[in-house]
């Protein structure tokens, strides 16, 4: 029941929000709906009763597809992330104004519902349905409320991800026809028998869709542009949660359906992921735009997740699962700061900023903590995830792990660069009259920082949830 409500609440809330005209009302309403969703998600995380966590009803019997929703270890973590992110995003951007705010928040909720659906569905067709449902509101959000170049950038984003989705659909349909009982249910897909060459082809069709979403080098070029042009609230949603859909789908669908093919292709994928990490890190070092830097940093981190996923080690898998959550938390925080700076000073260029720490000490401290989490310093949440992921990668191949670890050195370089150029040094003309961040931004950041530190010191609850997930899936891999 909780599983169904988790989707219904944002859908209904979103549909209602579409028709609210008054901006203040819709903001209050949005906060309310998002908090209800968060409470539901918390209830789901703490609940153990299978009747609460699973929902199953006939949908399209002729096709063999049912509405099957379920919360297990992995989806609990991601549902929690999705549910946490919206109230924080809404709080942090509370003072931003949007023309047609009702539609904006309505689409945000529809997007959230789509993502929750992706994490909850246990039926491939339903999964595909939600996958697209999450994409379409995101498209409208970016193309209506985005920056100057929004039309072409959003078009690129849409075509990119949509091409991927179609490849995935081809693969899904092919496997569907190969299932013995012609069903879209998760278990039928897990038990499908494919010849080696069929599995190979279908694996790549499926993987490219997910690689575009994650995104993994060299399918990443939509990401910096989109993050730069999208309204920041949407960017937070995209980078905090939506890219996790790709990683999640690898764990939920790709690895169990194609155990052998994943193993056969792991080396090439890991190599590309590691190249991508270094490549994105080096580009990040040379960035002058805060948003683009964060985007490239995200590409580097996701590259590590991808590499650890295919390292075929339980440690790495567990690391990925908790890192999905941790990365989401950290990167949303970074976007909040980027937005606060851009809204106040009208620029994101490092060359035009400097010395902000004197004028906005609170923002500086919170930002530094988040940056430290971004470089995976111990006692921040990201350390545990990266430690486990690198450990998995090390077990796969020590040399590759050594090369991948260079990325954490580079991460330190670009992250500290960013702190230095924005907050340290002397004030420049633009930052001369800057003031500290407002209460709502501080509140959102403080919550994130608390999560960062608490999960950094005591990650065991997350690890237990991840263990459930990793146990389930690692056993599928021969």
């Amino acid at each position: 029941m909780i599983a169904l409500l988790l989707i219904l609440v944002p859908v209904i809330g979103g549909l209602i929000a579409l028709f609210i005209k008054n901006e203040t009302t819709v903001k209050g309403f949005a906060l309310l709906v998002s908090i209800i969703t968060l409470l539901l998600a918390l209830a789901g995380v703490y609940s153990n009763s299978s009747s609460q966590l699973h929902y199953d009803i006939s949908w399209m019997p002729d096709l063999g597809s049912r509405i099957t929703l379920g919360l297990d270890g992995v989806s609990k973590i991601l549902v929690l992330l999705t549910a946490i992110s919206l109230p924080i995003i809404i709080t942090a951007t509370y003072k931003n104004t949007y023309p047609g705010a009702g539609k904006f928040y309505g689409l945000m909720f529809l997007c959230q519902a789509g993502m929750l659906g992706v994490f909850l569905s246990m039926d491939v067709l339903l999964f595909y349905f939600f996958w697209e449902l999450a994409l379409i509101p995101a498209y409208f959000l970016c193309s209506i409320w985005g920056g100057e170049k929004r039309i072409q950038v959003t078009f690129k984003f849409f075509v990119y991800t949509f091409v991927g989705s179609l490849l995935m659909l081809v693969s899904i349909l092919f496997i569907y026809f190969k299932t013995p009982d012609h069903s879209f249910a998760m278990q039928s897909f897990y038990h499908v028998k494919l010849s080696a060459s069929q599995a190979q082809w279908m694996f790549w069709l499926f993987f490219i869709a997910l690689a575009i979403k994650m995104p993994v080098f060299p399918f990443h070029t939509w990401q910096p542009d989109t993050y730069e042009q999208a309204p920041t609230a949407v960017t937070m949603l995209l980078s905090g949660v939506m890219v996790k859909m790709g990683v999640f789908a690898v764990i939920r669908w790709l690895l169990p359906i194609f155990p052998q093919a994943s193993q056969n292709n792991s080396s090439i994928i890991i190599i590309f992921a590691v190249i991508g990490m270094l490549y994105a890190s080096l580009i990040a070092i040379r960035q002058d735009d805060m948003k683009r830097l964060i985007a490239y940093s995200s590409i580097a981190h996701v590259g590590l997740m991808c590499a650890a996923l295919f390292s075929n080690q339980q440690v790495g898998m567990q690391g990925v699962i908790i890192q999905m959550f941790n990365h989401g938390i950290v990167i949303i925080g970074l976007w909040i700061v980027a937005d606060a700076i851009e809204k106040q000073l009208g620029t994101r260029k490092f060359s035009e900023l400097g010395g902000l720490a004197q004028k906005a000490p609170t923002l500086a401290i919170l930002f530094v903590v988040l940056c430290l989490a971004n470089v995976a310093l111990p006692l921040t949440n990201a350390f545990v995830g990266e430690f486990l992921m690198f450990n998995g990668l090390f077990l796969y191949n020590p040399v590759i792990a050594g090369i991948a670890l260079i990325a954490i050195i580079l991460a330190a370089v670009y992250t500290l660069n960013m702190i230095q150029k924005i907050f340290y040094g002397n004030t420049v003309a633009l930052t001369e009259n800057a003031h500290d961040s407002s209460f709502n931004i501080n509140a959102a950041l403080v919550i994130l920082v608390i999560v960062v530190i608490v999960l950094g010191i005591y990650p065991q609850p997350m690890l237990n949830l991840a263990q459930q997930g990793a146990n389930l899936f690692i056993t599928k891999i021969p």
Binding site: T221, L282, L395, A412, F423, Y458
Partner: protein, 634 residues
Amino acid sequence: MLVYLVPLFPLLGFLLNGLFRKSLSKSIVGIIGSGAILASFIVSCILFFDVKSGGALQVQPLFQFINISSFKIDFAFQVDQLSALFLLIITGVGFLIHVYSTSYMHDEKNEHFARYFSYLNLFVFSMLFLVLGANYVIMFIGWEGVGLCSYLLIGYWFKNDNYNYAAKKAFVMNRIGDVGFLLGIFWLLSKLGTANYNDVFANVHQLSSTDITGITVLLFIGAIGKSAQIPLYTWLPDAMAGPTPVSALIHAATMVTAGIYMVARSNALYSLSAVAENLVAIVGIATALLAATIAIKQNDIKKVLAYSTVSQLGYMFLGLGVGAYTGSVFHVMTHAFFKALLFLGAGSVIHALHNQQDMRYMGGLRKYLPVTHITFLAGCLAISGIPPFSGFFSKDEILAAAYANHHEVYWALGVVGAGMTAFYMFRLYATTFLGEFRGTEEQKNHLHESPLAITIPLLILALLAVVGGFVNVPGVFGGNSSLHQFLAPVLKTENVPELTSSKDFMLMGVSVGVAILGIVIALAKYIRKPELNEPQGLGKVVANKWYVDEIYNTLIVNPLSYLGAFFKNVIEKSGIDGFVNGVGTFIQYSSRRLRLVQNGKVGTYILLMVFSVVVLFVVFWNQTNIIDFFQKIF
């Protein structure tokens, strides 16, 4: 459970000072900051005497940090002889530095004063974490923690971009070492499934010799970064950008000794790998000599001390490499005393001269700063290894061990290094305290001895630097090497053959003689005529630190930076995005071409229709071949 109090106090101090930095007055901030360290010092003393009387203390884990199916890492502390000794050094010297700071930093704004003390407490907290951890992962937490704190403190005056650059450099170079450390931990975990010291050292025999060599070398890379050895030493001199007490803290009590602690802690592993031991010794002696040459030509009072730290750390690694673990730990202790003393003394000088750090504008300060002068002299004698000052005992132990283990070359090089140490220290001493004052008139009028909060720590440290060596008087002087006996349960693999006492005296005689020679030359050369001109020739190369920073920039930093720019401007824009957009352009182009087929003439349409019918017929007739083809593909 008493042990958990030790890091708790500095943590509380950090939180209180950090969160209420705007509302607390300076005196309260100082009391909280220093009091927190004093409290942990008292607890450390209790622990130390517990350990001394009752052997190693077993400590219960606080909670499980990472518990997954393949390994379990507890959030656990461990107190034994080694960590108890380090606790005393960290909290004891740390406390003195805190007290000193209350006066030294008094000109800072209220808010920044509190920020400074909160960072300082966090620094001590991280270092305590490092030495108290019962496994390598907890050690790594402290390990990165001190890296972070050094970053925060070196960049404490964040308005200055050069300081920020130095801070960043420190963090990044430490990170390079940390990568090696992490890989070492992964290797351990993959082979033994545990990172607990006790379990690892009990199961060393399960590791193959390749494993041991690999693990120890990787861990040593971590130590190189943290303890500023070749090739990762350049951050430490740059770290002088921070306030002087911070330099004292980094160089004496915390941070740089972490590498020594780690290798000494892992002696069970290192003693099994000859490759790693040789590497440690070679890196140690090479660093000791290289840093000493650079120190000779520096004019910044703090830079000289910084390079002397790098050099002394090299000695400690030499000791570790030749199996004299106690000697190294002993040198850590005495070095903590005299190096803290020297830095704080230098701080007192800088304070008196209103932030003048260049020795060429000092001189003759003996008259004006008597307490600073006398304590500084004690520190110089100690570091130069003049008996009976503390540095003599510890340095001699390392050199004697090198000789006894048939590394005569290392011994000889070590003695040369000792001579250089004495030379540059007394060059510093002579230029600063002797001769005539060379600063401005205005500075001269304001010259005064520092307040009590500065001089009392100096006096205490001077006392320690003088007598600190007596805790481990070797057998030849009728002592009983009590530190050896104390540390024996931890440093089980200590390997120093006994030398005959006549040989021992001869070795000491040589090294002391060389040191005295260095002192005499330095005094003779610099009392009357300090070096005021820019050096030429080889001197210039040395004064510019052998251009190592420039070499690193040319070979590593700039190429990477250009590569990043190349990726950003070329590959990303024209390569990948070019391809992606190329697909789009191609489709647009081909649709423009294809559109021309729709020319509106019925004839063309019918022609196409006829062609299609023909094609379909052909396909139909070859159905089986085509299906075969597709099956081959899939």
